[in-house]
């Protein structure tokens, strides 16, 4: 899952990005509104954490511009806590709202929920045959037994599970699993898919040659 953090305060941006990375998100950062908007348009993020008071263009403007073309889930992060501000934020296309100061664990829970809901998944658990994926604590169990997956493998499983029944192209996988600083030209994805099949069963993921991957329903 790939997340964009738009925040001009370096200490805060660093903490949020690091925390999300430690939860195995691919995280991109932007220090001002213009860069943020540019990145948000360029990549299809799973969620955007957006500060409102930004240099260049502010969060409101960024949101308005982004909503013309993208439906990316946006979580607003701001020090303005009045009801009017929150209502305004949500009405203008934000999906969630968190006031500063905030707890990082709440932030990541909200980000998880945002990503889940944007895929039409209300519950934290996704059940595919005998495999149960718990998106809250990022664990996977097969026939009741926990399966040990690496962070990358888990992210890939979650991405495919949230989009199950749909073909997920290789470029989509690259977009959502790796952040802008990683070299995505390797054939890492095939290695991960091979390992996932080994751990969750041969038929868990189907490869469509030249197109991508799919978890059949």
């Amino acid at each position: 899952m790939r997340v964009l953090v738009v925040e001009d305060e370096p200490g805060l941006r660093d903490a949020v990005a690091t925390s999300l990375r430690e939860e195995h998100y691919a995280v991109d950062e932007a220090a001002d509104g213009r860069t943020g908007l540019q990145k948000a348009r360029q990549w299809s993020y799973d969620a955007i954490v957006l500060d409102l008071m930004l240099p260049e263009i502010d969060g409101w403007e960024l949101l308005a511009q982004l909503r013309k073309t993208h439906a990316t889930p946006v979580l607003i992060l701001t020090a303005r806590d009045t009801v009017e501000e929150r209502v305004r934020g949500l009405d203008r296309g934000a999906d969630d709202y968190l006031c500063k100061p905030f707890s990082l664990s709440e932030l990541s829970a909200r980000v998880r929920a945002l990503i889940r809901r944007s895929h039409g998944q209300a519950k934290a658990e996704i059940v595919i045959g005998s495999v149960v994926i718990n998106t809250a604590n990022r664990t996977v169990a097969k026939e009741g037994h926990p399966v040990d997956l690496t962070a990358r493998e888990y992210t890939l499983v979650e991405l495919l599970a949230l989009n199950r029944g749909e073909l997920v192209s290789r470029s989509t996988v690259y977009d959502h699993v790796f952040d802008e600083n990683e070299d995505s030209l390797s054939n890492l994805v095939d290695v991960h898919i091979y390992n996932i099949r080994k751990k969750l069963g041969k038929n868990f993921v189907t490869t469509r040659r030249g197109h991508g991957y799919i978890i059949e329903t």
């Binding site: 001009d8 200490g11 805060l12 925390s19 430690e22 303005r80 806590d81 707890s103």
Partner: protein, 528 residues
């Protein structure tokens, strides 16, 4: 383009932020209501005027009528008197000659009322008359009312009226020849009745006038007071929770219209100052929350798992600078709150502005060197009366801006001089300047023309507000003139304290340990 320092609105209008319960106007009892009192006075005056006028009217009409009657009767009596003068009345009064003799003479004397008097309209009773000799014997009479007696004549010879048995009589008596008495009278019942009818008509007319006047007065009072009701209604609905009520001003020229306009302006000012306060509180909480969020998230992140010592150091460094920012901010907010609270500097000693400026330059020099900004100063000795720490803060804040919003190889020149008996402090730089649209706002709290830049410099957006507040507190003014990409000039004027020769008294109350008030008469050239 320049803006001048103006006192903060919030200080002029001490409005507390608590929402106040809607103020109900006390229920006015009737006698206290202005409309009621107005109406009472109006009624009293109207009643007395109408009653007075109508009474006068009636009395006038009555007197005219009676005078007419009296004239008529008098002229009749004079005719009788004239006729009587044809007689030789001598001797009759002494009863020497019998009355019959005289009466016999009447045949050709014709002692009777003139034609025009006798020929009256049908409804008017014919007048009566009587002539008496001095000794009281009646010479002649015609149609005297029954039971007539001359008696009241003694006490009031001109008693005009008497009540007859079934009539009101009016009489005129004159003294004829040889002490004789001539009396002419008639029944004036019909005239009296006519006068009574007139009185009734006048009364009805007065009632009509009164009714119309009172109704009109009530309507007038109500319509005059209706705007007051609207004013009090708007004023009582106006509260911290709802500042929208305004008085609907219809007649702008009338006194109440002017009052309403004045009140609306006052409401506007209160609302503006409230909005400023609200904005300030929102900005302050935003500014306070940001470093707090940094500290909280950095600590939470660090505690999530075991970290390397480098990571801990990084976390602590970030937290430390955030908490430094917090304490700076709190300090600035407290200063502002104090400035808002009192309009006078807390301390008043003689302050050598030039020495304070020199110290600020020295403090600022390392920062300026890092930013490659050349700091220069042209300082003349100048003394103002005030708080040395606050004045240092003003100069330091201004210098900080000059360096922060400058560019490499730029320069900032600080000069202190006495101009027109006030201390003039000018800080001129050739930095990035301020755009015209920003210039109007730079002294507003938390206003930052370029947030990214000030974040790098750690500015809170309060420096100029504080400087402006302190200068206003010291009775001075501040002007900022700027042109984008050309530079900024800040001019501060402070009132000059009692002259340099007045050092002794200054020394006594100067308890400044830093020695900023030490008299120093040689022109000081600090900096290069």
């Amino acid at each position: 383009m320049a803006i001048s320092s103006k006192p903060n609105l919030a200080r002029d209008l001490s409005v507390d932020g608590r929402p106040q319960p809607a103020h109900d106007s006390p229920r006015r009892s009737l006698p206290q209501s202005i409309a009621w009192r107005l109406q009472m006075w109006h009624a009293a005056i109207l009643v007395s005027v109408v009653v007075g006028l109508c009474t006068a009217w009636f009395l006038q009409a009555r007197r005219a009528r009676l005078n007419e009657i009296d004239a008529e009767l008098t002229s009749a009596a004079r005719v009788l008197d004239g006729s009587l003068r044809g007689f030789d009345l001598r001797g009759f009064d002494t009863t020497e000659r019998p009355l019959n003799e005289l009466l016999a003479a009447d045949d050709h004397l014709r002692l009777s009322l003139p034609r025009e008097l006798a020929d009256r309209r049908d409804n008017q009773p014919e007048p009566y008359f009587g002539i008496w000799l001095e000794d009281g014997r009646q010479l002649k009479s015609e149609r005297l009312p029954e039971g007539f007696s001359l008696k009241p004549s003694q006490s009031q010879p001109e008693a005009p009226e008497r009540d007859g048995p079934n009539a009101i009589l009016r009489e005129v008596r004159i003294v004829g020849p040889a002490g004789s008495l001539i009396l002419v009278g008639r029944d004036i019942g019909s005239e009296i009745a006519e006068l009574n009818r007139l009185a009734l008509r006048i009364a009805a007319f007065a009632m009509l006038i009164l009714a119309a006047g009172l109704c009109g007065g009530w309507w007038l009072a109500r319509s005059v007071l209706r705007p007051i009701a609207a004013i009090s209604d708007a004023a009582s609905r106006f509260s911290a929770a709802d500042m929208s009520p305004r008085i609907n001003v219809v007649e702008t020229e009338s006194e109440l219209g002017q009052l309403a306009t004045i009140l609306n302006d006052a409401f506007d000012r209160v609302e503006r100052s409230f909005d400023q306060q609200r904005q300030f509180a929102a900005d302050a909480s935003h500014e306070l929350r940001t470093p707090l969020a940094v500290i909280q998230s950095q600590i939470e992140l660090a505690l999530k798992r075991e970290r390397t010592s480098e990571e801990y150091i990084k976390t602590l460094t970030t937290c430390s600078s955030a908490s430094e920012r917090l304490s700076d901010l709190v300090e600035s907010l407290l200063t502002l709150a104090r400035l808002d609270f009192s309009s006078q500097p807390t301390e008043r000693v003689s302050v050598r502005v030039d020495l304070v400026a020199a110290r600020c330059i020295d403090l600022m020099r390392p920062v300026a060197q890092q930013a490659e900004v050349n700091l220069r100063s042209e300082l003349e000795p100048a003394i103002v009366s005030g708080d040395p720490k606050q004045i240092e803060r003003v100069i330091f804040n201004l210098l900080k801006n000059s360096v922060a919003y400058n560019r490499p190889h730029g320069e900032a020149v600080l000069s202190v001089a006495i101009v027109d008996s006030s201390v003039e402090l000018i800080l001129r730089d050739n930095g990035i300047g301020i755009s015209e649209s920003d210039l109007a706002h730079v002294a507003e709290r938390f206003y930052r023309a370029d947030k990214a830049r000030s974040r790098v410099h750690g500015g809170s957006g309060l420096g100029l507000s504080i400087a402006q507040g302190i200068i206003a507190n010291h009775g001075g003014t501040m002007q900022i003139a700027s042109q984008l990409d050309q530079g900024t000039t800040v001019t501060v004027h402070l009132p000059l304290a009692s002259t340099l020769s007045d050092n002794h008294s200054n020394d006594r109350d100067a308890s400044n340990p830093k020695g900023a008030t030490t008299p120093h008469t040689t022109p000081l050239q600090a900096g290069q």
